[in-house]
Structures are given as structure tokens and as C-alpha cells.
Symmetry: C2
Subunit: 150 residues, 2 copies
DNA sequence: AGCCAGATGCGAGCGATTTGCAACTGGGTC
DNA sequence: GACCCAGTTGCAAATCGCTCGCATCTGGCT
């Protein structure tokens, strides 16, 4: 897939998404459209202020409270996920990607994604055994790069 | 073990603990002693304000900032653990018990402990594979009681 | 008993996020 | 295409959980 094709692809996905949101009764304002595109472009895990910074390049003057309000709304709509890692403001990511958990490098703050069906299954088993069903879960590994002479 | 024996046991453990802390250069003030006993008695996962409330019954007038400062100190000394569950203030528990993770009932807020060596091993494996070693981890299952006619 | 580094209480401060409110604007309606 | 109004925005103030500065007090070694 060429860069151009990838671009068209993302554009189309975003259009589908805004239509879906509209149908769900969410008004697509300039501010929200901007945030949606910023989120679609983000392949990292930005925090609210960073998203605000990026959104301002599209809609100068957009307020931080609008960013927070919209993030909350998009989270409710299931369009994005909010992650509260230790000792940092909340970070956000869109829900295009498949479910995964996170490793956070305690030295650099870098976030690495990983997934393990086996862990997921074990979690479900444990909950089941204790008479519960999992609504959601949070698994974070705070890690340090290995090897090298520390 | 009778209630009386359990009491003596706890008392002895607390004495050992304060001695160890003193040796580590931590001054045992009335406030800290109170907090230590409150923590030793707690079999739940209280938050700072609740610990403050309980400590006030031993040392009336103890300030909330002292509670926070002491909790931070005790955490540094490895005497207690701080858990930051979603959408609630931090909760604390002493380190007497073996390592475990937590299930949080989303309906009631109740915290249930569980442990799984298999999950621990899988986590370590995954980190290893990606070139990291785990410093600490956080695994929380947000759950709902099963069965019953919801 | 005396000393003093470290601890306490108080109130102010802080960072992340939420909220009240008056002005504005999508997007369905005619 | 103009109209309307419930929903959205920007701003400032508020909230929440927690930390900090500072003057005063106190464990615990001598």
C-alpha cells in the first residue's frame, strides 16, 4: 500500500466514523472533526494537552476544556480509549487497533503495546472461578530495557 | 490460634516493624505509630482520608498532610503498597501478605485479592521476549458479580 | 536534662480535570 | 437558502487529591 493509498484509506475511515457518530446523535463541530483527525493520525499515546496542541494547528483557539469534553464523549462512544498510567496525565488512543495491553519503560516513559491471549484467558478463568465476569481490565508492565551495562 | 494469641502476634510484628524502621533512620512519632497500628489492623484497602479518620481516634488532631507524608515514607520503606485504581483516590495496604493482584467490583467498589503464578510467568516471558525486564506491574480486573437475574 | 535534625500542623499551592454560564453553531426543517 | 434551537464552545472559576513552605515542636542520641 502506497502512502497515497494509506492516506485515502484513513480519510475514508474517518468519514465513516463521523457519519456513525452523527447517527449516534453526536454533532460534528469543527473542533470535534479536528480532534478526530488528530487522533486518527496519532500512532503514539498522547495526553490531553498534547492533543490540544495538535488540534490547535487545525482549529486555532480551540479550548482545552473542549478537548477534555470531546475526549470524554469519544470515550463514551467507544471511539477512543483512555489510559491512566502511573504518575502521568491520562493518555489516549483510538480503537482502530486490536485489543492490547501496555508496557511502560520506566526510564523513558515510552509505551510499547503487547497482547497475550493466554493471559486474557487466565484472567477470565480466575474471575469465573471467583464468581465474577470481567467488565474490563488493566494490565501494565513497568519495565526497563535489558542487557547493556547498567 | 485464639483471638488473644492473634493480638499478641500482631503486637509483636508491629514492634519488630517499628524497630526496623528506627534502624532505617525513620523517627517513630506518635502519629506514625498510630498510622502503623491502623494499617496493621486494616484488612481492607482504605484510602488516605479513611486512614486519617481512623488515626484520629488514636491521635486526635493528626493532620491529613502528615498522613500523606507518612504513607509516602512507609511506601518508600516498603512497608505498605499504594494502589491507584480507576476513578478513586489511592488505596493502601500493608505488605505482610504475599504478592497478589486485585479484582474491583465495579458495582460495589469492593476489592478482592487474587494471585496467579501462571500469569506472572507469562508477563515475565513477554517482557523478556521484547528485551525488557519487569520492574513492577499492575493487573486489575474490573468485574461484576455473575449469575443472579440482571 | 539538653540538643537539633527531622517531623508536624496549618494554610497556601498545584496539576489534571470538570463545570457554570452566556454566546455561538450544526444540521434538521420549512 | 434562511431559520431555529438543542447541543457545543470558550472562558473563568471550581473541584479533587495531593504536595509544600514555614514556623513550631519533639524523638531519641549524648
Amino acid at each position: 500500500m502506497s502512502d497515497q493509498e494509506a492516506m485515502n484509506d484513513k480519510h475514508r475511515r474517518t468519514e465513516n466514523l463521523t457519519d456513525a457518530l452523527r447517527r449516534a446523535g453526536v454533532r460534528i463541530t469543527r473542533q470535534r472533526a479536528a480532534l478526530l483527525s488528530v487522533l486518527a493520525d496519532a500512532d503514539d499515546h498522547p495526553e490531553a494537552t498534547e492533543l490540544h496542541r495538535r488540534a490547535e494547528e487545525v482549529v486555532p483557539g480551540i479550548s482545552l476544556s473542549t478537548v477534555y469534553r470531546t475526549l470524554t464523549e469519544l470515550e463514551t462512544q467507544g471511539v477512543i480509549l483512555r489510559h491512566q498510567f502511573e504518575g502521568t496525565p491520562a493518555r489516549f488512543e483510538h480503537t482502530e487497533t486490536r485489543h492490547h495491553d501496555h508496557m511502560i519503560d520506566v526510564e523513558t516513559g515510552e509505551v510499547v503495546e503487547f497482547a497475550s491471549d493466554r493471559i486474557e484467558r487466565l484472567q477470565a478463568e480466575i474471575a469465573e472461578t471467583l464468581g465474577y465476569e470481567i467488565v474490563r481490565h488493566r494490565l501494565e508492565l513497568y519495565v526497563r530495557k535489558k542487557g547493556g551495562a547498567d
